[in-house]
């Protein structure tokens, strides 16, 4: 059933899909709504608006890849499906940024973990940013709806051995753990979510809401980069866009003008602030691109006595929130514990070493377990987040300073991860830190964790969750959009992606994006049909 390829079939049935690389002259397209981005936010928005009878154009900078392209190969997937060919980093190069760049956005390459926005986070938003309409009770029906649409359920199969290390370690230490809800239907439990689901089981935007929109007459133009929203007074008149060549990297020289009654930016927490900054839209309080959050991630790896084969099986199925909100919502930095899959290229890129040491690390991959911590940033005054800026060529960058508050959380997370791995029977544990050795017992490892410098570059840091930069709020002096994602100063512009979060989520963000986009799109559809 899941082998039925909706996209291949859709082409045959006459979906309106245009490859920007095939455009040979400048042209103009027009619709009721132009949506920039096809990920969790853009796909959801497109389906709901198209189903309501509005005409919709979807603009995607990346290219269209689907089942025929998903051959479970890391190198081709990283080059084609990820931002900057998987080389995206923060401004100073210290934090690697994993982010999708293709039809479906990051939902095409994420590891399917689907959490509701924690109640603590929603209540904090209400209390701190005046977002009372987003209290947990009000959001429950939207989470219910998206969980149904995207087949989100706790993973019913046994966790793979990599995830089981986290479960066993937590169990032994009395730390709480739970099974991760995943957006899959008929999953084969192969382990290749990160390189494009080969079986169409993952219910990302690529196989759900984008086809849902196309079946309702929406027009998808991929290989098209949104350059600038052009405003007149308080309204956007058109979007100026640049077609990309078939290599996905080089502009072809063709420009496209997109006219609409309403524009929705769903270009991600790096892309949307970048687009708004390039467009020089009104920003009287200098809020665009501020308060960018990333759930900074640090990692420990363990050599386990038995084979783990961390490249096989559902990549994420167990998590622990034991330390996430334990210090209070705005106390010392909390963290969520999860497990990353480790295929050869990913492992070789994450483990910092060379020569004989790296050869030994890699030879041990089948026995290697990795645990990661997602630091919950943005809830405390000492975690104000990063800033999106523009390079000379107009492309966006993220400048993310790591504050002492976050370093404290990262160091505590190192301690917890090492405790968990040794409790689960690890023979030795190593921090993803340039100064770390392998430690054969917990005492030595903890001594090292207290001793190693917590500094940029030396601590290997990652982010797979980009949030904020166009934050929601009741007060325009400290936010970019209101509680419905509507721009405070431009009447026909909404933002429907993770950039509107006023803090990080404290959990993998895709379901938060889906639910808010569904809620805000339903309202937008009603407004536009009046």
């Amino acid at each position: 059933m899941q082998l039925k390829d909706r996209i291949a079939q859709g082409y045959e049935s006459g979906w309106k899909v245009t490859d920007g690389a095939t455009l040979t002259e400048n042209q103009t397209f027009e619709a009721d709504v132009v949506i920039i981005g096809t990920g969790a936010g853009g796909g959801t928005t497109a389906e709901i608006l198209a189903q309501s009878g509005l005409s919709v154009i979807l603009v995607e900078e990346g290219r269209l890849y689907y089942q025929k392209d998903f051959k479970m190969d890391e190198l081709t997937a990283y080059a084609s499906l990820y931002q900057e060919g998987m080389s995206r980093v923060t401004k100073d190069g210290a934090i690697a940024i994993l982010q999708g760049r293709c039809v479906g956005g990051s939902t095409t390459v994420n590891w399917t973990s689907s959490f509701r926005t924690p109640d603590e986070t929603l209540n904090h938003w209400a209390n701190r940013f005046g977002l009372d309409s987003l209290r947990p009770d009000a959001m429950t029906p939207w989470f219910d709806g998206r969980e149904q649409r995207l087949n989100i359920e706790p993973w019913a199969v046994d966790p793979n051995p990599n995830n089981d290390v986290l479960r066993q370690g937590c169990e032994k230490l009395g730390y709480s753990w739970k099974v991760i809800p995943r957006n899959v239907k008929g999953c084969w439990n192969l382990g290749y979510c990160g390189v494009g689901c080969p079986t169409n089981a993952k219910q990302g935007s690529l196989v759900t809401t984008v086809p849902g929109a196309l079946e309702n007459d929406a027009h998808l133009i991929y290989g098209l980069r949104a350059e600038k929203l052009v405003a007149n007074q308080d309204r956007i008149e058109h979007l100026q866009a640049t077609a990309m060549s078939a290599d996905g990297v080089t502009p072809s020289g063709i420009t496209v003008t997109l006219k609409a009654r309403h524009f929705v930016s769903a270009a991600s927490a790096i892309g949307s602030p970048g687009l708004l900054l390039r467009s020089e839209l009104p920003d009287p309080y200098d809020r665009v691109g501020k308060r960018s959050f990333i759930h900074p991630v640090n990692v420990t790896v363990a050599e386990m006595p038995d084979k783990i084969d961390p490249f096989y099986g559902a990549p994420q199925s167990i998590y622990s929130d034991h330390f996430n909100f334990s210090g209070g919502v705005d106390g010392p930095a909390g963290y969520k514990l999860e497990v990353p899959p480790m295929h050869p290229a990913m492992a070789a890129g994450v483990i910092p070493n060379h020569g004989q040491a790296q050869a030994t690390n890699m030879a041990g991959l089948p026995w290697t377990n990795a645990v990661l911590a997602l630091i919950r940033d943005g809830f405390h005054p000492d975690s104000p987040g990063g800033t999106i800026g523009l390079r000379d060529d107009g492309s966006p960058y993220l400048d993310y300073p790591v504050t002492d508050y976050l370093w404290d959380g990262l160091r505590r997370a190192f301690h917890t991860m090492a405790e968990v791995q040794f409790a689960a029977g690890a023979k030795r544990v190593r921090l993803m830190h340039l100064d770390s050795d392998w430690y054969t017992n917990l005492a030595d490892c903890k001594a090292a964790i207290d001793d190693v410098p917590m500094e940029l570059h030396r601590v290997r840091l990652f982010t797979a969750h980009q949030m904020g930069g166009c934050g929601m709020g009741a007060n325009p002096e400290e936010s970019v959009v209101n509680a419905f994602g509507e721009h405070h100063h431009i009447s026909n512009l909404s933002v429907h992606d993770a950039s509107i979060f006023p803090t990080s989520i404290g959990a993998n963000p895709q379901l938060s994006v889906y639910a808010l986009a569904a809620r805000n799109s339903s309202r937008l559809a009603n407004k536009l049909k009046e």
Binding site: L3, D5, Q67, K68, D69, F70, K71, M72, D73, E74, L75, Y78, A79, S80, E84, G85, S87, R88, V89, D92, G93, A94, W188, L190, Y192, P198, T199, D247, G248, V249, F311, Y312, H343, P344, A345, A347, A348, G349, I351, P352, N353, H354, G355, Q356, Q358, A359, M362, A363, L365, P366, R391, D393, S395, Y397, L434, E455, L456, H457, R458, R460
Partner: protein, 213 residues
């Protein structure tokens, strides 16, 4: 290529990196210097164009691959570094060893093409810094030009940048080793070095996208 300064004019400190204070003193000039290396390298005759095809080479395996980013100097740099990065996992037989190195460098070039302009610019600065004689000697403290650098010397250079207390050098170490490690260990011929059997055969046999391969 500009001629290197004679060794006796240089400070040959073997400490693992300058201390923070001396870096702060030289930091501003150093950063400015990094920014100007690309220009200087071009003026002084370093290769600045992508190498295209290496078909005329007598020392490298024949290949139809067209380099789109790496210059001939960059290729020489990676030919010197890869024996220290892939290390004992490179084949010993000279011919297969050369082929393994050449293939890895082609995959590095192909990967960098997809990095896009911003990161290409950063890598251009890094590679020019390492290829330009003056900065290779003063900043990387590698005395020979890359084709004459031994595996031990390449390893020592990588270790200096890995253990340095200067973030910029750590960043350079990560950039060089990450793109090399990913291109080497991520390649299907090398999966066995990680004990990775590849995608499950039953899935490959059952899935339509593998049928026409």
């Amino acid at each position: 290529m500009m001629t290197s300064l004679p060794d006796d004019t240089l400070h040959q400190s073997d400490a693992p990196g300058m201390d923070r204070r001396s870096f702060l003193k030289t930091g501003i000039g150093g950063a400015f210097f990094l920014g100007t290396v690309s220009v200087s390298a071009g003026l002084s005759g370093c290769a600045t164009q992508p190498a295209g095809s290496l078909g005329d080479s007598t020392t490298r395996p024949a290949s139809s691959y067209q380099f789109r980013f790496l210059t001939r100097d960059d290729i020489a740099l990676f030919e010197a570094l890869l024996p220290a990065i892939a290390g004992p996992n490179l084949p010993e037989d000279p011919q297969t060893r050369r082929a393994a190195i050449a293939g890895t460098i082609e995959r590095i070039d192909s990967g960098i093409h997809n990095f896009g302009p911003a990161n290409q610019k950063e890598l251009r600065r890094l590679f020019d810094l390492l290829n330009f004689g003056l900065t290779r000697v003063t900043v990387a403290r590698v005395w020979s030009s890359w084709p004459n650098v031994s595996t031990d010397e390449a390893h020592a250079f990588l270790e200096r940048w890995r253990t340095s207390s200067i973030g910029l050098f750590n960043n350079g170490y990560i950039a060089l080793t990450k793109i090399s490690n990913v291109a080497f260990y991520g390649y299907s011929d090398n999966w066995h070095l990680s004990g990775y059997p590849g995608p499950p055969q039953y899935a490959v046999d059952a899935l339509p996208q593998f049928k026409n391969a």
